[in-house]
């Protein structure tokens, strides 16, 4: 029994959800009707919907190639994030000299925007000979400090007695991480996968800088090309937007529960 009625909160949440979902609805509606966005009065419901604009967008640019590039880059980013962030998060659960400074340094680095480090990042990538390659595209997304802290918070919540028992049994550290910590930190793993996927998938600036060939472009870069070349293509343009957004939404919906758990696991006690 609640002290206050819940319906006002639910009503506000419904209104806020509606406001946040309207742009998505509008994009999807325009992608199947091709209605000019400057039409007045705009129609609220789709008039004469059809999927042809998706076909048009598919053939207007090399969509499968861009999609493959995005998948490869996102896949590399996910794997690297899981390995590097889990290892770093595990290390931060240990006691070692300068741990406090290390955490402060990581927190300080979080405050430096990527745009401020983009020139050194470019020069390093060029020195490594990775310009215009999938590895070069994925390299800056190999680790995110916020994800390291997500793993740390998740590992901190695991009872130390479990780790001590494993140590007494002679289990090496890397096996403790792999076989004990990670299976118990599934929400953190899911959150890492989702965040690294979405950030890598939506990244525009870095690919714009290091990609030279059309064949190496990712989907957000393809979207900007589409915008630049074909201005009067409302339906196809919006269809392309949906095609770019859909994989990210799918991954989010598939791991939604773990994602929320992962984000909140460090925020509560017990």
């Amino acid at each position: 029994m609640h002290r206050y009625p819940r319906w006002p909160i639910h009503l506000i949440l419904v209104i806020v959800s509606f406001v946040m979902l309207v742009p998505f609805y509008w994009v999807i509606k325009t992608s199947i009707t091709g209605e000019n966005i400057f039409n007045y009065p705009p129609s609220l419901w789709p008039v004469d919907p059809q999927p042809f604009f998706y076909v048009d967008a598919w053939y207007a640019i090399p969509f499968p190639r861009f999609f493959l590039n995005s998948v490869i880059v996102a896949g590399m980013a996910i794997v690297a994030n899981l390995i590097i962030n889990a290892a770093a998060g595990f290390a931060l659960t240990k006691s070692f000299p300068g741990k406090r400074w290390m955490i402060l340094l990581l927190l300080a680095c979080m405050m430096i925007p990527f745009h401020a480090t983009i020139i050194p990042a470019y020069l390093i990538t060029a020195q490594l000979g990775l310009l215009n390659t999938h590895l070069g595209l994925a390299l800056p997304a190999f680790s995110h400090i916020i994800c390291i802290f997500l793993f740390k918070a998740s590992f901190d919540a695991i009872p130390p007695s479990l780790i001590q028992a494993a140590k007494i049994d002679g289990v090496p550290e890397w096996q403790i991480l792999l076989k004990i910590m990670l299976p118990l930190a599934k929400p953190a793993v899911a959150t890492n996968i989702i965040l690294s996927f979405i950030w890598s998938w939506n990244d525009f600036l870095w690919p714009l800088i290091i990609v030279r060939d059309v064949e190496m472009q990712t989907l957000p870069l393809g979207l900007s090309t589409f915008l630049a070349y074909f201005e009067d293509t409302t339906g196809s343009l919006y269809a392309f937007c949906v095609m770019v957004l859909a994989p990210g939404l799918l991954v989010f919906f598939l791991a939604q529960k773990q994602f929320i758990e992962g984000l909140t696991s460090g925020a509560r006690k017990g």
Binding site: Q50, P51, F52, V55, D56, Y59, A60, F230, D232, T233, S236, L250, L254, A255
Partner: protein, 127 residues
């Protein structure tokens, strides 16, 4: 055994499995219907078939329209194109110096899709 069930029967495997099935089914459908056959009929305003009308098939891109083939209708007013290899097409028909039709857009769901036009092309002003 239970482990395998867990791996196979979870929402991730099922979702991506269903996507894979849809993609395979779609590609099989495309393979079976991609001869680029486009058929239809030309009629006059009274709905009677027009023989000997010139039908022009054009490709509509986002920025232009290019003629790619033309043919002449038979005694029943029917026409037939094959192997057009496009997905956005425009058809026009005319009887030189007599009548001309409005542009008819043909939107296909994949390149070279076989399609029989559901409604005829109407020549306006034909005798």
């Amino acid at each position: 055994m239970e482990d395998w069930k867990g791996w196979l029967l979870n929402r991730v495997t099922i979702t991506f499995g269903l996507i894979a099935v849809v993609v395979i089914a779609w590609n099989l459908y495309v393979q079976a219907h991609d001869d680029g056959i486009l058929e239809g009929q030309v009629v006059n305003e009274a709905g009677e078939p027009v023989a000997g009308a010139k039908v022009v098939l054009s490709e509509r891109t986002i920025v232009s329209m290019t003629s790619i083939a033309e043919t002449v209708t038979d005694a029943d007013g029917r026409f037939h194109f094959e192997g057009h290899d496009r997905h956005a097409l425009v058809l026009t028909a005319e009887m030189p110096d007599l009548a001309r039709s409005a542009r008819m857009e043909v939107q296909l769901y994949f390149k070279n899709q076989n399609r029989r036009l559901p409604s005829p092309i109407v020549l306006s002003g034909a005798a």
